[in-house]
Symmetry: C2
């Protein structure tokens, strides 16, 4: 059985006339007659009682017709759906973002992206790097914004921009007197870091050569919380530029200073499966983010 045949059946039932039905199906009348006859043979029953005067569906055909219509409608729905997905810049793109990037970067990206590609629906998922990569592998995400090198098999990435880390310290901190902090000084500070799993944690600890891992009695799952701890005087922290650059004013009670150029920073990347078919959409997102950082990689 064939969808085309079902369309023929429906057309004949609707027009009650082989010639007009054939015309509606854009085939010749003999073609339609022949195909219908073959279908009837295959089904082992007569679908239409024909005379030279009239064509009337049999009882069996009347029962079959709604099913045939449903099948054809489903097929048409598939075609319509496909039409919607033809544009790689349409449909939903499931984008993972790490927590130290999402709240700061996405608000500035979503607007312009929606403006350029109104049919592209970004579905955001915030989680730490490892979980994002797992979801990416499991096809639960299409792409992910990360700040680490990706050494994952089958996953590739587009570097978007480099950003330096800044030192954030309590107002009273001695280093607040300096315009710029160098690497040596960095190793001397009491460094507060995020909870396990955040890439920023590891990067901050590496930058200040404190592989042990900050104060064990404090736990911050968000960068905002961490900054509040700094403001409360518990210590200092390293924050990526993007997390402070967008602010109207620094967190009250803290002072922010840049590090000596090249001391520490991170590269933000858009990672995705190399087999992901809608690379165009991924590249559009990458381009949109790069546009916000003209000095990027």
């Amino acid at each position: 059985m064939n969808l085309r045949d079902l369309r023929y059946v429906i057309a004949v039932a609707d027009h009650r006339h082989f010639g007009r039905a054939a015309e509606a199906c854009h085939v010749s009348q003999p073609t339609l007659s022949g195909q219908l006859r073959k279908l009837e043979e295959m089904l082992g029953m007569t679908l239409f009682e024909r005379t030279n005067k009239s064509v009337v569906p049999t009882q069996a055909a009347e029962q079959i017709l709604p099913l045939a219509r449903a099948a054809v409608e489903n097929a048409d729905a598939i075609a319509a759906l496909a039409q919607g997905w033809r544009d790689p810049l349409a449909g939903s793109l499931r984008l993972g973002v790490i927590p130290t990037l999402g709240p700061y970067l996405m608000p500035r990206v979503l607007g312009p992206l929606k403006q350029h590609y109104p049919n592209l629906d970004l579905v955001l998922w915030e989680d730490v790097t490892d979980n994002l990569l797992s979801r990416l592998r499991r096809h639960e995400l299409d792409a992910a914004l990360l700040a680490t090198d990706v050494m994952e098999d089958g996953i590739v990435d587009i570097p978007l921009f480099d950003e330096p880390f800044l030192l954030v310290m309590p107002e009273a901190h001695p280093l607040s007197a300096m315009e710029q902090i160098d690497a040596a000084r960095l190793e001397t500070v009491e460094m507060l870091v995020l909870a396990d799993g955040h890439c920023l944690r590891d990067q901050a600890l590496a930058a200040c050569k404190q592989p042990g891992g900050g104060r064990a009695d404090l736990r911050a799952t968000s960068l905002e919380m961490l900054l509040n701890m700094v403001a409360a005087g518990y210590g200092c922290t390293l924050a990526p530029a993007v997390t402070v650059a967008g602010r109207a004013s620094p967190v009250s009670g803290t002072v922010t200073r840049p590090l000596a150029p090249g001391t520490a920073g991170r590269t933000v990347r858009l990672a995705f499966r190399e087999t992901f078919p809608r690379r165009t959409a991924v590249e559009a997102v990458a381009a949109a983010i790069r546009t916000l950082h003209p000095g990027g990689t």
Copy 2:
């Protein structure tokens, strides 16, 4: 798009493996790969992300799959329905019957017919001849049990049996003394007949040469009512043998006498469109009825 292609898509989605999906579809793997690729091209989108390690449906495919499954299920339902109709002696047969035949003949036919052809469902429709023929022409009935010649274009019939008319009269009627009534006597009686439209009315009037049409102040729509009128002494009537032969006892207050052989009677026929495809079923019904009347035509 093709139902076969949809089956391929479903198989690949289910097996997540081209080779096994192909096996399940009883085609070679290259065939399935090729067809799937063509479908993807036609739809203008990728349905599966393939690596040498895994085959995963894209988001678009996930949306399409339920539709594809529905379409395939509809097609399968059509095939199943057709399977049920393959046997011409299965499914419903819409049978019209005239009122002076149905209540007397059908009870004796339905049982044996159901026994022989348990899958054949007779759907009965009782009406007068003209209405039955209209419905037959409009394909609202498949066959009709009539007691008149059918001169309808495109309608043919199978004669089933002849039956004589009997004279039914009030107990006190003078003719009740005779064993048999001849044609001449028949013309002398006060004849009660059924309402307009019943073929028995015309046949009775013709038999007693009273074309005018009985007593205008009496109207009977059923033969039973007519017999009651006879019992009440309003006059006599002609009843087909089948309507009194099946009775345990005659209607009380009436006497029934045969006519002289060949005087008046009717031929019961099974009429149907000559294009009706399930002639086998019609013939089965005809045979069943004839079996009850071994002396039939």
